[in-house]
């Protein structure tokens, strides 16, 4: 076991010895999926998500916030340093 330096990106692992196969799968997916980047001035994609808020587990739907300003923030993970 080797000690791993801890940065702000969440450390991840992955399967060992399946490199060739998984690459092929990725390439196939790349052909199928055309990545669509979010555009300003366009509708924010609606979603539901479980969450934690002031001591309670809740479920949030973005469209429930219509009529209010919303700041939606993504981050790499809890307990990351930044």
């Amino acid at each position: 076991m080797a000690e791993q330096a801890v940065g702000c990106a969440r450390p991840t692992g992955g399967p060992v010895g399946e490199e060739t196969n998984s690459r092929q799968t990725q390439e196939q997916q790349n052909v199928k999926e055309e990545p669509t980047m979010i555009k300003v001035g366009k509708k924010a994609p609606d979603f539901t998500a479980p969450g934690y808020h002031k001591g309670e587990f809740i479920s949030v739907r973005l469209s429930d916030y219509l009529g209010k300003w919303v700041l939606l923030c993504f981050y790499p993970g809890d307990f990351t340093f930044v």
Binding site: T12, T36, P45, D46, Y52, L66, L71, L72, G77, D78
Partner: protein
């Protein structure tokens, strides 16, 4: 929102963030297991299995007015985000009658776009206003 479960959110809030923010995090901490929402918003990093620092300003009509995405090691500027929201709110309240030039913050001059302003911005706005 991150790929962590709501249980981990609770632990992080209760055991660390409450020591940094009185009363804990005041807004919902959302869970996006598998990165499905992050994928739609273009901020899910499949290789790392996490979401990057994406920040979206969504107006009362559900329209995205702005976004910013950073890689993990660099944190955001909260004041700049608030400034942008204040600017978007002003523009919305003026129903497009006013625009906020570079460096605008509350109290500073806005521009009134229109036929009379064409070629005349230099008369009503100086470049130094972008920096002060």
């Amino acid at each position: 929102m991150s790929i962590d479960s709501q249980f981990v959110h609770k632990m992080w809030n209760d055991h660390e963030l409450t020591k940094m923010v009185e009363g804990g995090i005041p807004y919902p901490m959302l869970s996006d297991a598998g990165g499905k929402v992050g994928t739609v918003y273009g901020v899910y990093d499949e290789d790392a299995g996490v979401e990057t620092r994406g920040r979206f300003i969504i107006d009362p009509d559900g329209i995205i007015q702005g976004y910013e995405v950073l890689t993990p090691p660099v944190g955001r500027n909260v004041n700049e985000t608030i400034r942008q929201i204040q600017a978007f709110q002003l523009v919305r309240e003026s129903q497009g009658g006013e625009a906020t030039p570079s460096g605008w913050k509350p109290g500073k001059d806005t521009l009134k776009p229109g036929v009379n302003l064409v070629g005349k911005v230099w008369e009503v706005w100086q470049t130094r206003q972008a920096f002060d």
